[in-house]
């Protein structure tokens, strides 16, 4: 019982440290989600799969919010004629790259780790999109 109390106290201490960061990030996410209109996204894609996948990854990286939003937005992009590669890169980057969360990630898990993880996640979002769409068309 004493150990359980100790672990609960330790957990609350950890949360106290992180709470301002979480609140700050949610405030930022709210601001970005409400200030970027949906129509903005569909105006910047060209018809080049590689270029579009990079653009998709860039937008996915800076846009943040619940994953379900990215799926719905991705589905809408597809309806508006954006390529599947770009949409896939966008959705994958949305859920794997965290520009907005970067300050918290670098403070808590280390700057080197946060930089490396986000850069590799960005590169992999393009690669995952290309491989996925290739497999979808060949299988």
């Amino acid at each position: 019982m004493r150990e359980l109390k100790q672990s609960a106290a330790k957990t609350l201490k950890s949360f106290y440290k992180i709470l301002p960061l979480i609140l700050g990030m949610i405030l930022l996410i709210s601001l970005i989600s409400t200030s970027i209109p949906r129509s903005f996204y569909s105006t910047i894609f060209r018809n080049n799969p590689f270029f579009d996948s990079i653009i998709g990854s860039v937008i996915g990286s800076i846009s943040t919010g619940p994953p379900i939003t990215s799926y719905i937005l991705g589905g809408e992009f597809l309806k508006e004629g954006v390529s599947l590669i770009a949409v896939t890169a966008f959705m994958v980057a949305w859920v794997t790259v965290g520009i907005i969360q970067f300050p918290a990630e670098s403070i808590i898990l280390g700057m080197k780790f946060a930089v490396t993880r986000n850069i590799t996640s960005f590169i992999f979002s393009v690669v995952v999109a290309i491989i996925t769409v290739m497999l979808v068309s060949y299988i």
Binding site: T34, I68, Y71, L78, V95
Partner: protein, 170 residues
């Protein structure tokens, strides 16, 4: 030294929150409608994530109670594929926004888990089983299955890559 680092970490967290609040205050003067809709979005999001917050707190208490450095060391000495599989499954099953997991991951790091596993965990969190019906609705079952498999593979590739980069950096 450790205490000094911790208090610096707390200060940075508060400075960050104060900076964002200042942005909101300025926004209230220059664009009140964006300010109020952002604030509304913020409160809706807070209401949605409070249950996840509680769940994560409980999980952290359990982790603190059961997961000791000794146990981690023993478990992570298991054959290679098993531990990667464990991390991928844990990532897929985890809930809530990514940043809510950082304190738990930082603690696991202190208990001996390497950066590669943390990266794999964070990457595989992108696979949301309960959201699959939404993607199937917009795309196709074939697309979802392929994307999920490719992402599972890449979550491991990212873990291995990060391990190599950060280990060679030391």
């Amino acid at each position: 030294m450790k205490n000094k680092y911790r208090s610096r970490q707390i200060n940075v967290s508060w400075y960050f929150l104060i900076a964002v609040i200042l942005v909101y205050i300025i926004l209230a003067f220059i664009n009140f409608s964006l300010f109020s809709s952002s604030l509304k979005f913020f409160f809706n999001l807070i209401i949605k994530i409070v249950p996840i917050f509680i769940l994560i707190l409980i999980l952290m208490v359990i982790t603190n109670y059961f997961i000791t450095p000794k146990l981690i060391t023993r478990y992570f000495k298991a054959p290679g594929i098993k531990k990667w599989l464990f991390v991928v499954i844990a990532g897929i099953l985890s809930t809530g926004p990514i940043y809510m997991w950082y304190p738990l991951l930082a603690e696991l790091k202190e208990k001996g888990i390497n950066y590669g596993f943390i990266a794999t965990f964070l990457y595989s969190r992108a696979i949301k089983i309960w959201l699959l019906p939404v993607i199937i609705f917009y795309f196709s079952l074939k697309y979802v299955i392929i994307l999920t498999i490719v992402m599972i593979v890449f979550s491991t590739i990212q873990g291995i890559t990060i391990n190599k980069i950060l280990t060679s950096d030391r």
